[in-house]
C-alpha cells in the first residue's frame, strides 16, 4: 500500500488532494460528502470584504430608498431586529464545518482595506479554521500604479495578517507578476507559509447578440496545469515555503505531475463542479494505482522529483524552450 500522506503548512494530510476554494464549500453537507469521498482538506469559498461592505450599504440603501417622502408611506419595510450583513454567516459556516468534519478546513479571505484583512483574518481564525488562504484578487487597471506598488501591497497584507493570527497563512498568487520568482521569495520572507499557484481570474466574454460584456465562468481544464506546474517546478527548493497547485487539476495524472513539480498538495474544484465530488475518490484511486504500478512507496518520495533542480535539463523550464514549442506547431504543408 502506497503512502499518500503529505504535509501542508505544518498540517498532516491523509493525501495530497485538497478541494480548492469554490461554491462547493458553501454547504456543510457538500463538504462532508467531499470528506467522505477522500478529500484531505477543504479550502472554503472566499469571504469578500467588498461583499460585506456591499451587503451592508445595499441594505442601507434600500431601507432608506423612498422613506420619509410621502405621508402615507414613510417606509416600505419592517425594521428587523438584526441583519447579518457582516461575515457572520461565513464564520458560522466554518464553525459548523469544523463541528461536522475532521479534516483541516482552510479559510479564504479577500480583503480590500488593511483593517479588513486583519479583522476578518482574526475572525476566521476564531471561527475555527485550521489555516488561512489569502485570496489577493486585484486587477491593477490604474495606469499610475506601478508593479512595485502592487508588490508592496501584497507584502503588507501578508505581513499584517501574519502578525494578527497564529494559524498558518497561504497566499494565492496571480500569475501576472513581472518577477514571479522574486515575488515568491519576498512573500516567503514576509511570512507566507505556503504559496498557492495560481489564481484564475474570471475573464469577461462578449455577448455579440446584445453587444454586452458578459461575465461568465469557464471552468479550468488540464491544459491550465502547465503554468503552475512550471512555476512550482522552478520555485521548489528555492523558496522555503509549501506549494499548492490549484489550476488544471482534473485527473490523477495532474495530481502526480503537481507533486513531482514540488507541490505539497494539489487542489481541484472545476473537476468536481463538472463531474461531482465522487471524482475525488476516483482521482485518488488513480493516483494510488499509478504509484503502485510503478512501485512508488509514498507521495513524499515523488514531491519535487521533477522540479527544475532535479530534472536532467533545467533549461526546459526556461524561455529558450519557447522556440522549440513553436516549431512543433507549424501547420501541416498541403
Amino acid at each position: 500500500m502506497v503512502d499518500l500522506t503529505t504535509t501542508y503548512m505544518g498540517m498532516s494530510l491523509k493525501n495530497p488532494l485538497v478541494v480548492s476554494s469554490s461554491p462547493l464549500s458553501d454547504n456543510v453537507d457538500t463538504i462532508r460528502e467531499m470528506e467522505e469521498a477522500g478529500a484531505s482538506a477543504v479550502v472554503m469559498s472566499s469571504l469578500f470584504e467588498e461583499k460585506v461592505i456591499y451587503e451592508s450599504q445595499s441594505l442601507d440603501h434600500y431601507l432608506n430608498y423612498g422613506v420619509d417622502s410621502f405621508a402615507e408611506s414613510l417606509s416600505y419595510f419592517p425594521d428587523m431586529q438584526e441583519y447579518r450583513t457582516g461575515p457572520e454567516s461565513y464564520l458560522n459556516l466554518i464553525s459548523q464545518v469544523k463541528d461536522k468534519t475532521s479534516i483541516p478546513i482552510i479559510g479564504s479571505l479577500n480583503g480590500v482595506s488593511s483593517s479588513g484583512w486583519i479583522e476578518y483574518a482574526q475572525k476566521i481564525e476564531q471561527a475555527g479554521a485550521d489555516a488561512l488562504e489569502l485570496n489577493i484578487y486585484y486587477i491593477p487597471t490604474d495606469i499610475n500604479t506601478s508593479g512595485a506598488d502592487i508588490e508592496r501591497m501584497y507584502l503588507e497584507v501578508v505581513q499584517s495578517v501574519k502578525k494578527s493570527v497564529s494559524i498558518p497563512v497561504a497566499v494565492k498568487l496571480s500569475p501576472y507578476f513581472s518577477a514571479t520568482a522574486n515575488m515568491a521569495h519576498q512573500l516567503a520572507q514576509a511570512g507566507a507559509d505556503a504559496l498557492v499557484l495560481f489564481n484564475r481570474f474570471y475573464q469577461p466574454d462578449f455577448d455579440l447578440e446584445n453587444l454586452e460584456v458578459a461575465p461568465n465562468l469557464v471552468l479550468s481544464d488540464s491544459n491550465e496545469l502547465r503554468l503552475p506546474l512550471r512555476w512550482v517546478a522552478i520555485l521548489h527548493g528555492q523558496v522555503p515555503v509549501d506549494f499548492a497547485i490549484t489550476s488544471g487539476v482534473h485527473t490523477h495524472e495532474d495530481v502526480l505531475k503537481g507533486l513531482m513539480a514540488g507541490a505539497k498538495v494539489t487542489m481541484t474544484a472545476s473537476e468536481l463542479l463538472q463531474n461531482g465530488v465522487g471524482r475525488i475518490g476516483e482521482i485518488l484511486a488513480g493516483t494510488t494505482a499509478w504509484m503502485e504500478e510503478r512501485e512508488y512507496e509514498s507521495v513524499k518520495q515523488m514531491q519535487g522529483s521533477m522540479s527544475q533542480q532535479h530534472v536532467a535539463e533545467p533549461a526546459v523550464f526556461e524561455r529558450a524552450n519557447y522556440m522549440k514549442v513553436l516549431e512543433s506547431c507549424r501547420p501541416v504543408a498541403k
Partner: protein, 1183 residues
C-alpha cells in the same frame, strides 16, 4: 419613580399600550393609523409580550370590516382584543361596533382620527370618522398630545374592563399620530396597576364556550327589542364616574391628573372655548397667554366625549361664563350644528332648565368648525374666536381658518398674532424626501429628547407627490413641555436643503429677526449671494439673518453618501444652532448613527461618521451686504397661457398657498378639470434622456415604458418642420408606406423624473461605441432651455391620425398615439403607470375609469393636478375614485349607466327613425365599432344626428340629443392595486366579474400595499418580507387569475410589460375587445420591492423567466371557435427562482435577518413555481 423618557409619535404610544394590554390584535392598513398595526405586528413577531407575559396574536385581515368581525368574534369568546383604524376604515367597522356595544363588551379601538372622503378623499386629520360612530354606543376618549395618547390609551383599557362599555380612544391623525414628542413611558408596573386582573377574568368569563353554553346575537321581535335595548342604560350612567376614578387612580400612580372635562384659564372667565383633540394644546397655550394679558378667557378640553356627562361638563365651566364657543373638527351638512356644539347647547339648556347649572347668567353657546383635514389651527385663530365671542352678536355656526366668501361663515383674525416663547428653539427644514432630511430631524429630536433635559417636538409636512417630494420639518426644543400643535410661525433657524426651493417657495417667511439660515448650495460663500433671488436677499438683510452655506452634495459625494445629505446638514444644524455644545452634539450624532444604522453594518456607520467629520469644515458663514442686488425673481408658478382655473386655483395650490384660497374658488361638487399636470413643471430630474436619431431604430420601446409619458414620438410631413428650433431633432421615418415623412422623438425634460427606464429598455446601440444607445442620460443643465423650446414645438406638430389605417397593435405603431395620462407624481420609474398610459393611448378618448383608492388614485387624482388629460378634440379619460373596497361595483355602476343609456338612446333612434332619416338611423344602430375607423365614423354620424335633432321640438328628440354621445362605444375600466383586488375589494370584484357585464379590470399588482407603505396583501409572494409579514410571507400568493378563469366566461390575462411588451399590448387589446368582463393582472415593479427602480423592467423579466410570473391569456371567445381558450404564453422557467428573488431586497432582507427561514421558504417557493408550471401546462393542453 423615574420613568424612561422616550421620543416617539402618537401611533407608537397607542400601540405600546394596546400591545401590552391585549391578547388578540386584528389589523388592516389605513393612513394614518397603519403604523400602530405595524408596531404591534413587529413586536409580536419579535416575541414582545403583553403584561401577562404572553405574545399577543396579531392577524392581518382583508379589510377593516373583516378586522372588526374578527375582533368581535375574539371578544365574544373572551379574548382581550383590539384594533387600530381611521376614516373609512372606522366606518366599515360600524356594524360590528353596534354589536360589540350592544353586547356590553369590553374593548378599545385606537383611532388616528382622519377626514372621511366626501367631495374628495383626504388622508389628514379631523374628527369626521369618530363623530360618524357616535350612535354606536361606544365610549370615546380623546387624547390631545403624544403623552396623552399613552396615558389615555391605558385609562381607556382600564375603563372598558370596569364599565363593560367599549371605547374608542381617538387622537388627531398626523398632528398627533405622527408628531414625534418626548414623553414619559409608562412602565409595565403602571399598566399592571391600572388593569384589574379580576376584570380581565370577568371579561373572559363572559366569553362564549361550549363548557358553559349560551347564545348571544339573537333576533328579537317588537315585543322585547325596545326593552332589551334599554337594559344598557345603567352601564352608560355609571361610566363617567368609572372614567374619572380611573383618571384619579392614574394621577395617583403617575402624577398626571386628567378630568372628563379639563378646564384651563381664568377662574372668572367669561368666554370659554370647548374643543377636543390636538387643538386643545394650542388653545390652552393661547388661553394662558391671554389670561396673562388680563383677559377673562378659558378653554374646556373634552376628554370623555361619550358617554357625555352633562353634570361634569357644567361643573367644569366657570360660573362666570357668558359665552361658550364649541369648536368641532368635523362637519355635518344640514344639521342644526356640529356634534360638540349640540352637546354643549343641550347641556347648558338642560342645566339651566333643571337648575343643575350654577352660572351667573344663561350663557350663550355658539358653534364653529375648524381644522378639517389637518387645516392649521393656530393661536391667532383661537384669539380670533375669543374676539368674536366678545361681540354683542357673535357669529354662530362659523368657520375659522379659511375664508368663506360664499356663505360668509368665516371669522376674521390677525394671522400675525403669535405667542411662541423665546426660550424655545424653533427650526424649520426644507428638504426632499430623497435627501433624508426628515430622517435626520427625527434623529435630532431623539438626541435632544433622550440625551438632554430639554423637551423636543417634531412634525413633518409632506407634499402630494411620490417622486421629488418636498418635505418641511418643524422642530421645537425647549425647557418645558411643548403645547404647540401647530406649525412654526416664527422660526429662529431655517435650513434649506435644496437651493431650488428659493425660487419656488417663500422659505424665509417664518424666519424671525436675527434667525440663522443654512443653505445647501453648489455656490461657495463668495458666490452664493449673487445667486439668491432678490426677495431672499431682501429678507436676509431686513431680518438681520445670519447666513451659512455648504455644498452638502459635494461633501456627500466625497464621503460616499450619494444623495443623502441628511447627516451632513444635521451636523451643520447642531454646529450653528447652539442647541448643544458643538463637541457634545457631534458625539451625540455619532452615537445616534451607531444606534440607527449599526445593525445595517459597520460600513454604513463609518460612512456616516466620515460625513459628520467632513460637514463642519465645509460650512461657511456668508458676509451679507447692506443692499440686495439680485435680478433673480420668483418666476410665475404657471405660464400665462394656462387656463383660468389653473391660474386662479391650481397654481395657488402648487405654490403652497392653497390655504389662502377662499371657498368661492373651489368647485362645489369635487369636480375638477383634467389635463393639469402639464402646467406643473416640477423639474426634478438632474439627468434626462437625450435622443440620438442616428442610432435610433424607432422601435417605440422607450415611449412605451416611460412611466411619466415624457418621451413622445410623432411622424409628420417635412413641411411641418418649418420654424423648428435650431436644436430640434428629426430624422426619416422608418415605416413602410411613410417614406418621406419625418420622425421625431422628444423628451419633456421638465416633467422627467430621471428614472432611466427608457435607457435601460433601449435595444439600439451605436456600432462604433456600444455604450452609446439611441437614448442616453445627460445632465439637464446645459439642455434645459433648448429642450423646453423643442418640447413646445413638438407639441405643436400634428398628432398622428388614429384612423389612418395604421394598425395600433404593436409597440412601434402605438408610440404614435397620444397618451392621455401624463406627468403623474408617481415614484420615479413606477411600474404601474406605463400600463395606464398604454390603455389611455389605445382607448383614452372613450374611457371611463373607476379607480380604487391606492397609489393609482393618488398619482391619478391627488390635487393640485391630475395626469389624466384630453386630446385635441377635447376627449379623454373621465375618472373617479369612490372608495377602496367598492371599486369593482363602482365601475360596474358606470357600465350599467352606459348600457342603460345606450339601450335608451338606441330605442330613441329607432323611435325617431323618420325624423332623423332611416339611413342615418340604420347606420347608427348597426355601426361596427370594433376598429378605430369604425368608431370615428360613428362619431361623424353622431354629429349628423345632433344636427338633425337640434331642430326638433320633441321631448324624445331632446332626450336623444342629451344621450347621443353614448352611441359611440365607451370603454369602462376598473383600475386598482392588489390590496383592492385580492383583499378588500375581492368580494365585489368576484361579483362583478361573475356578472358578465363588459368591464375591463386592470389590476396593477405590486404584490404589496404600496400606497400605505408596504404591508402584505394576499398577492405578496411566499418568502417576501413585508410589513405584517416581517418573518417572510409563509404562504403562496393567491392565484387570482386561476380563480377568475374558473368561471369560464371571463377574459383573463397575466402580463408583464418588462417581460413581453407585445404580449401586454395583445392582452389589453383582446380584453377591451371582449364583450364581457375582462381581468388583466399586470406585474408592476415597485419601490416596495427594494429594487433599483431603473432595473424595474429587468425585474419583471426575471419574474417571468423564473416562472414566478406566468404570462398567459384566457379568452372565452376562442371557445366559440372550438379552441382551447387558454394560451400559455410563457416559456418554461429558464432560471431558478433564486436568481430572481436574490435581486430584490424584499427577499434578501429575510436572508439577512433569518437565513434559515429564508432558505426554507425559498425552497418551498421553488416547488410552488414548479407545481404551478405543471398545472398551467395542463390547462394549455401541453401535458
Amino acid at each position: 419613580m423615574t420613568r424612561q423618557q422616550v421620543t416617539i409619535d402618537g401611533n407608537e404610544a397607542a400601540a405600546y399600550i394596546a400591545h401590552k394590554t391585549n391578547e388578540v390584535i386584528a389589523i388592516y392598513p389605513i393612513t394614518p393609523s397603519s403604523p400602530m398595526g405595524e408596531h404591534a405586528d413587529q413586536w409580536s413577531s419579535q416575541g414582545g409580550t403583553n403584561i401577562w407575559g404572553t405574545v399577543p396574536l396579531v392577524i392581518e385581515m382583508q379589510a377593516e370590516g373583516g378586522a372588526a368581525g374578527a375582533v368581535h368574534g375574539a371578544l365574544q369568546t373572551g379574548a382581550l382584543t383590539t384594533t387600530f383604524t381611521a376614516s373609512q376604515g372606522l366606518l366599515l367597522m360600524i356594524p360590528n361596533m353596534y354589536k360589540i356595544a350592544g353586547e356590553l363588551t369590553s374593548a378599545v379601538f385606537h383611532i388616528a382620527a382622519r377626514s372621511i372622503a366626501a367631495q374628495a378623499l383626504s388622508i389628514f386629520g379631523d374628527h369626521s370618522d369618530v363623530m360618524a360612530t357616535r350612535a354606536t354606543g361606544w365610549g370615546m376618549l380623546f387624547s390631545n398630545s403624544v403623552q396623552e395618547v399613552m396615558d389615555l390609551a391605558l385609562i381607556s383599557q382600564a375603563c372598558t374592563l370596569e364599565s363593560r362599555v367599549p371605547f374608542l380612544h381617538a387622537f388627531d391623525g398626523f398632528r398627533t399620530s405622527h408628531e414625534v414628542m418626548k414623553v414619559e413611558k409608562l412602565s409595565e408596573d403602571d399598566i399592571r396597576a391600572m388593569i384589574s386582573d379580576d376584570m380581565v377574568r370577568a371579561h373572559r368569563e363572559r366569553g362564549l364556550t361550549p363548557d358553559r353554553p349560551r347564545i348571544r346575537g339573537t333576533a328579537q321581535n317588537p315585543d322585547v327589542y325596545f326593552q332589551a335595548r334599554e337594559t344598557v342604560n345603567a352601564f352608560y350612567q355609571a361610566t363617567p364616574e368609572i372614567v374619572q376614578r380611573a383618571m384619579d387612580k392614574f394621577a395617583g400612580l403617575v402624577g398626571r391628573q386628567y378630568h372628563l372635562f379639563d378646564y384651563v384659564g381664568a377662574p372668572d372667565a367669561e368666554r370659554v372655548i370647548v374643543l377636543m383633540g390636538s387643538g386643545c394644546e394650542t388653545a390652552e397655550e393661547t388661553v394662558n397667554y391671554l389670561v396673562g394679558q388680563g383677559e377673562k378667557v378659558g378653554v374646556i378640553k373634552v376628554r370623555l366625549y361619550r358617554p357625555f356627562s352633562v353634570g361634569h361638563f357644567l361643573s367644569a365651566l366657570p360660573k362666570t361664563v357668558k359665552t361658550i364657543a364649541a369648536l368641532d373638527r368635523t362637519k355635518e351638512p344640514g344639521g342644526a350644528g356640529e356634534p360638540l356644539y349640540l352637546d354643549a347647547v343641550t347641556a347648558v339648556s338642560e342645566g339651566m332648565a333643571e337648575g343643575t347649572a350654577s352660572f351667573d347668567s344663561h350663557p350663550r353657546v355658539i358653534g364653529g368648525r375648524y381644522g378639517l383635514s389637518s387645516k392649521e389651527f393656530t393661536p391667532a385663530m383661537v384669539k380670533g374666536v375669543f374676539d368674536e365671542m366678545s361681540k354683542a352678536q357673535p357669529k354662530n355656526h362659523f368657520t375659522v381658518g379659511i375664508v368663506d366668501d360664499v356663505t360668509n361663515t368665516s371669522l376674521d383674525y390677525d394671522p400675525a398674532f403669535d405667542i411662541e416663547m423665546d426660550d424655545v428653539v424653533r427650526a424649520v427644514f426644507w428638504g426632499l424626501g430623497a435627501d433624508g432630511t426628515v430622517s435626520a430631524n427625527k434623529n435630532s429630536i431623539k438626541i435632544i429628547g433622550e440625551e438632554t433635559s430639554h423637551h423636543a417636538q417634531g412634525y413633518f409636512v409632506y407634499d402630494s407627490k411620490k417622486s421629488g417630494a418636498r418635505t418641511v420639518s418643524h422642530l421645537r426644543f425647549g425647557p418645558r413641555h411643548i403645547h404647540n400643535s401647530h406649525l412654526i410661525q416664527q422660526s429662529n433657524f431655517v435650513a434649506v436643503h435644496q437651493s431650488g426651493f428659493l425660487e419656488q417657495y417663500d422659505v424665509l417667511e417664518t424666519a424671525k429677526e436675527g434667525a440663522t439660515f443654512l443653505l445647501n448650495s453648489v455656490y461657495g460663500p463668495d458666490e452664493v449671494w449673487e445667486h439668491l433671488p432678490e426677495q431672499v436677499q431682501r429678507q436676509i438683510i431686513d431680518k438681520k439673518i445670519k447666513f451659512y452655506v455648504i455644498d452638502a452634495y459635494d461633501v456627500a459625494r466625497e464621503t460616499g453618501m450619494g444623495v443623502r445629505i441628511n447627516t451632513i446638514m444635521q451636523t451643520c444644524f447642531f454646529a450653528i444652532s447652539n442647541v448643544l455644545p458643538r463637541e457634545e452634539a457631534i458625539a451625540q450624532i455619532k452615537k445616534a448613527i451607531k444606534k440607527t444604522y449599526g445593525k445595517r453594518g459597520e460600513a454604513v456607520v463609518q460612512k456616516n461618521y466620515v460625513a459628520v467629520d467632513a460637514a463642519v469644515a465645509h460650512m461657511h458663514q456668508v458676509t451679507v451686504p447692506d443692499q440686495s442686488s439680485s435680478v433673480i425673481k420668483m418666476p410665475p408658478v404657471v405660464p400665462p397661457e394656462a387656463p383660468e382655473f389653473v391660474q386662479n386655483v391650481t397654481a395657488k395650490m402648487m405654490a403652497g398657498e392653497g390655504d389662502l384660497l377662499p371657498v368661492s374658488a373651489m368647485p362645489v361638487d369635487g369636480t375638477y378639470p383634467t389635463g393639469t399636470t402639464q402646467w406643473e413643471k416640477r423639474d426634478i430630474a438632474m439627468d434626462v434622456p437625450v435622443w440620438e436619431p442616428d442610432v435610433c431604430i424607432q422601435c417605440g420601446k422607450c415611449v412605451l415604458v416611460c412611466p411619466h409619458a415624457v418621451i413622445r414620438a410623432k411622424v409628420y410631413d417635412e413641411s411641418d418642420l418649418s420654424g423648428a428650433p435650431e436644436t430640434f431633432k428629426a430624422t426619416e421615418a422608418r415605416w413602410k408606406g411613410m417614406e418621406g415623412q419625418k420622425y421625431s422623438l422628444q423628451v419633456s425634460v421638465e416633467d422627467c423624473t430621471g428614472c432611466t427606464l427608457c435607457v435601460e429598455v433601449c435595444p439600439a446601440k451605436d456600432k462604433s461605441q456600444v455604450g452609446r444607445k439611441a437614448i442616453n442620460m445627460e445632465s439637464i443643465l446645459p439642455l434645459k432651455e433648448a429642450e423646453k423650446e423643442n418640447w413646445d414645438f413638438f407639441l405643436g406638430l400634428p398628432e398622428f391620425p388614429r384612423q389612418d389605417g395604421l394598425n395600433f397593435t404593436n409597440v412601434k405603431n402605438i408610440q404614435l398615439l397620444q397618451p392621455l395620462f401624463e406627468f403623474s407624481g408617481a415614484c420615479a420609474g413606477c411600474g404601474e403607470t406605463a400600463y395606464i398610459k398604454l390603455a389611455s393611448q389605445l382607448f383614452g378618448d372613450r374611457m371611463i375609469i373607476a379607480n380604487a383608492t391606492g397609489c393609482s388614485s393618488i398619482y391619478g387624482g391627488n390635487l393640485p393636478t391630475t395626469p389624466y388629460t384630453f386630446n385635441q378634440d377635447g376627449r379623454g379619460p373621465t375618472w373617479s375614485n369612490s372608495l377602496f373596497e367598492d371599486n369593482a361595483e363602482f365601475g360596474l355602476g358606470m357600465r350599467l349607466t352606459v348600457d342603460k343609456q345606450t339601450e335608451y338612446a338606441r330605442e330613441l333612434v329607432d323611435r325617431l327613425r323618420e325624423a332623423i332619416g332611416s339611413d342615418l338611423a340604420g347606420a347608427l344602430l348597426n355601426a361596427d365599432m370594433s376598429y378605430e375607423a369604425g368608431i370615428e365614423a360613428q362619431r361623424g354620424r353622431v354629429v349628423d344626428l345632433k344636427a338633425k335633432l337640434s331642430g326638433l321640438d320633441d321631448p324624445a328628440a331632446r332626450d336623444l340629443l342629451s344621450l347621443a354621445d353614448v352611441l359611440v362605444k365607451k370603454s369602462v375600466w376598473i383600475i386598482g392595486g392588489d390590496g383592492w383586488a385580492y383583499d378588500i375589494g375581492y368580494g365585489g370584484l368576484d361579483h362583478v366579474l361573475a356578472g358578465g357585464r363588459n368591464v375591463n379590470v386592470l389590476v396593477l399588482d405590486t404584490e404589496v400595499y404600496s400606497n400605505t407603505g408596504g404591508q402584505a396583501s394576499k398577492a405578496t409572494p411566499l418568502g417576501a418580507v413585508a410589513k405584517f409579514a416581517a418573518g417572510g410571507k409563509p404562504l403562496p400568493k393567491k392565484d387570482l387569475g386561476m380563480i377568475a378563469m374558473s368561471y369560464g366566461h371571463i377574459y383573463v390575462a397575466q402580463v408583464a410589460m418588462g417581460a413581453n411588451d407585445a404580449h401586454t399590448i395583445k392582452a389589453i387589446l383582446e380584453a377591451e375587445a371582449y364583450d364581457g368582463p375582462s381581468l388583466i393582472i399586470a406585474y408592476s415593479h415597485c419601490i416596495a420591492h427594494g429594487i433599483d427602480m431603473a432595473q424595474g423592467l429587468n425585474q419583471q423579466k426575471l419574474a417571468a423567466d423564473s416562472g414566478h410570473w406566468l404570462l398567459y391569456r384566457y379568452n372565452p371567445a376562442l371557445q366559440a371557435e372550438g379552441k382551447n381558450p387558454f394560451t400559455l404564453d410563457a416559456k418554461a422557467p429558464k432560471i431558478p427562482l433564486k436568481s430572481y428573488i436574490d435581486t430584490e431586497n424584499r427577499y434578501r432582507m429575510l436572508q439577512q435577518s433569518d437565513p434559515d427561514t429564508a432558505e426554507r421558504l425559498a425552497a418551498k417557493a421553488q416547488k410552488v413555481v414548479e407545481a404551478r408550471w405543471e398545472q398551467y401546462q395542463q390547462l394549455a393542453g401541453k401535458k
